[in-house]
């Protein structure tokens, strides 16, 4: 009996506590300077330090608008933002990538930055990159850093095989295939390519053959998989199984696994994200000569731009101030410091010039920065059902094809029928 009374009393106290608990915004907005929360995903130590310096400089210049820096993680930023947008507690300045924020933008979670960004900032970034952060006509983010796919070459092996190191602005897929064949020996394939998650690579490099895959955007997109779209997987497959100049094992590995093998001298060339140059610069054994080859071209050297972005939640009470902070980050010297720290390409031309001046174009920067001009928006970035199609249909279908388990017509059919299934016909 005592226990029952005790339980009832405890329940009453809990309910009373719940009923009187304070509800509403966590921060008192009425007093003191405005505080903006900025969640940065800066990863490399130099770019983390550069971010801290940028925030400190802003805070020193703007006593009324203070930025509070929080370090986030690329690993789970999407799940975190899903919850925070719903709960109304997303940071005032959000660091993410354009492919990820498109969905949030379509749901109305992101503020229109168009009216807040200066002409200088707008004109410094190529239009194709702006289009990658424009959703339904609204600029939902500022693009900061980009990466492209580049060919890294062990120049010693290339020279020994009699392959001339190209100096032209671009390099064709045929030239790549030829160099791969000529550097292949019975013990060593000429090319390694980590393609464990092949869809993004195929979609991005497919643009170089005019392979757009999608027309239209949002929910009204349609998919076409023709010759242009199939060029990249077909050429990779041919190098792996017809020429035998591309190591088929590497196609099942991650990019970093293949770089490890490249550094051990197992391949003459590898294709990977441009940021891998950092790993090569830091971990290459003494005497290992390498360089970034010119941009890979089909009918054009175009690749998809999927820039890292800074955006502001639509329900932030300080959209204008947050946009001003983003403008501050976009200054050439700031963006250049971040780009150098992450070994990525800055989205704006003044910042690219600053990186070139600071690095002298060494360690692959010359070719990497040159390749930035070919980065442009890709139709798939605006397609609502693309993420589902990518994970459930395209990735396994491409893995089967690149694993030589299916043929090209089967790949074409699986991609097309899979889209019909995902998009409801």
């Amino acid at each position: 009996m005592h226990l029952r009374r005790l339980g009832l009393a405890a329940a009453a106290v809990l309910l009373a506590g719940c009923a009187t608990a304070p509800v509403g915004p966590d921060v008192d907005e009425s007093a003191g300077p405005i505080t903006l929360r900025f969640q940065s995903l800066a990863f490399q130590e130099p770019s983390v330090a550069a971010t801290e310096r940028i925030v400190a400089a802003w805070n020193a210049e703007h006593p009324d608008v203070q930025v509070q820096l929080a370090q986030g993680s690329w690993d789970a930023v999407h799940d975190q933002l899903v919850t925070q947008f719903q709960g109304g507690t997303a940071p005032d300045v959000i660091h993410d990538e354009s492919a990820d924020i498109a969905g949030f933008a379509r749901q109305g979670y992101l503020a229109d930055l168009g009216p807040h960004l200066s002409e200088d900032t707008r004109s410094g970034v190529p239009q194709g990159v702006w289009e990658a952060v424009t959703v339904d006509g609204t600029v939902v983010a500022a693009p900061t850093l980009l990466q492209s796919y580049v060919v890294f070459a062990n120049t010693t092996v290339l020279e020994q095989a009699g392959v001339t190191i190209p100096t032209s602005p671009t390099w064709t897929w045929d030239e790549l295939a030829d160099a791969a064949r000529r550097t292949t020996t019975p013990d060593r394939p000429g090319l390694g390519w980590g393609m464990r998650q092949p869809t993004a690579t195929v979609m991005s490099l497919g643009l170089g053959f005019g392979g757009t895959f999608f027309t239209g955007g949002g929910d009204a997109a349609t998919l076409q998989v023709g010759d242009a779209e199939l060029q990249v997987p077909r050429r990779i497959h041919d190098m792996a199984y017809a020429d035998r100049s591309l190591d088929p094992t590497s196609l099942t590995q991650s990019g970093s696994d293949v770089i490890t093998a490249f550094l051990a001298g197992r391949y003459a060339m590898v294709v990977a994200g441009s940021y891998v140059a950092q790993q090569l610069a830091e971990a290459a054994p003494p005497g290992f000569a390498w360089r970034v080859l010119p941009a890979l071209a089909g009918t054009s050297p175009n690749q998809a731009a999927n820039p890292q972005t800074l955006s502001v939640p639509a329900d932030s009470p300080h959209v204008e101030q947050a946009a001003e902070f983003i403008e501050f980050v976009m200054r050439a010297e700031n963006l250049a410091a971040l780009a150098q720290g992450e070994w990525l390409i800055p989205a704006s031309e003044p910042a690219r010039n600053a990186v070139h001046a600071a690095t002298g174009g060494r360690d692959g920067w010359e070719a990497t920065l040159d390749g930035a001009q070919y980065l442009t928006t890709a139709p798939f970035q605006g397609v609502a059902d693309y993420p589902q199609w990518k994970d459930q249909i395209a990735t396994p279908a491409l893995q089967r094809y690149l694993g030589n388990q299916t043929d090209l017509p089967t790949l074409q059919r699986e991609l097309t029928e899979g889209w019909a299934q995902v998009a409801g016909g």
Binding site: L3, C18, A70, G88, A264, P285, E342
Partner: protein, 270 residues
């Protein structure tokens, strides 16, 4: 001949179990050039990665936060689970079936499904971005399994022991505290270990609920060593992960002796 084979099998098993830790230690002590060359044993051991891990991320603060949350969760779960599990194990009612069914069902919900409503509820009580809120969430998450575990241990205690206490004049609460709880020590320790581990390693709720850099927990701090496009700072991550295992290893070393069985032997004379 049989005994050496047993020892060999045991050694293989221990090596198998210990390999991840050895790999972690080896990787944590490799320099940047060795990280890409494979092999478990570092040829030129270095402690640089430990310095990087501690310097780059505030591991001490994060470990303290994790410890506060894990110990709070463990204490809360044990306090709640002991009487509940006792009731479920000893009373035969329809409620017991429903309660057990609910305990099982609650384990199959994906975390992402409960994250949002939980987040909104905690926000109402200003418990977002608070270690107290995170402790409550971890306790709610660990409680069903703790209940399930403890029920089994309680069922193994002979009723005769409790009846002897009742005959001597003890009430239900006294029986639970003075008779059942001491006999249940190994079960409570095992449950505490499970709860502690689940809270110590928990990532997703901490990610969603904690925003203040001073309140982040260890799993969140370690996640910073993983970047976009699959980049990983392997040396610093391995060093950080190794340091992160130390507090839990010390905790287990301190309490594992309590995990002995046989406390009940001779409790009831047959």
């Amino acid at each position: 001949m049989k005994r050496p084979l047993q020892y060999l099998a045991l050694a293989c098993y221990v090596a198998f179990l210990g390999f991840p830790l050895l790999w972690l230690l080896g990787t944590a002590m490799k320099g940047p050039d060795e990280l890409t060359t494979g092999g478990v044993v570092p040829l030129s051991p270095t402690f640089e990665n430990f310095g990087d891990a501690v310097g780059r991320a505030d591991l001490i603060t994060a470990a303290t936060n994790s410890l506060v949350v894990a110990l709070g969760t463990t204490a809360l779960v044990l306090v709640l689970a002991l009487p509940s599990a006792y009731a479920l194990a000893r009373y035969r009612t329809r409620l017991k079936i429903a309660a057990n069914a609910w305990v099982l069902v609650s384990q199959v919900f994906p975390v992402i499904l409960v994250a949002l409503p939980l987040f909104l509820i905690l926000r109402q009580f200003r418990l977002v971005d608070s270690l107290v809120g995170l402790t409550l969430v971890h306790a709610v998450y660990a409680l069903p399994f703790a209940l399930w575990m403890l029920q089994g241990y309680i069922a193994a205690i002979p009723r005769d022991v409790e009846e002897a206490g009742v005959v001597d004049g003890a009430g239900r609460l006294r029986v639970l505290v003075s008779i059942v709880a001491p006999l249940l020590a190994p079960g409570l320790v095992a449950t505490a270990m499970f709860t502690m581990i689940s809270s110590w390693n928990e990532f997703f709720f901490a990610l969603v609920l904690i925003q203040d850099p001073a309140k982040v927990t260890l799993p969140l701090t370690l996640a910073r060593f993983v970047g976009a496009e699959g980049q990983v700072q392997l040396g610093a991550l391995a060093a950080g992960a190794l340091l992160a295992t130390v507090p839990s290893l010390l905790f287990f070393a301190a309490i594992q002796r309590r995990l002995t069985s046989g406390l009940l032997s001779g409790a009831v004379k047959g």
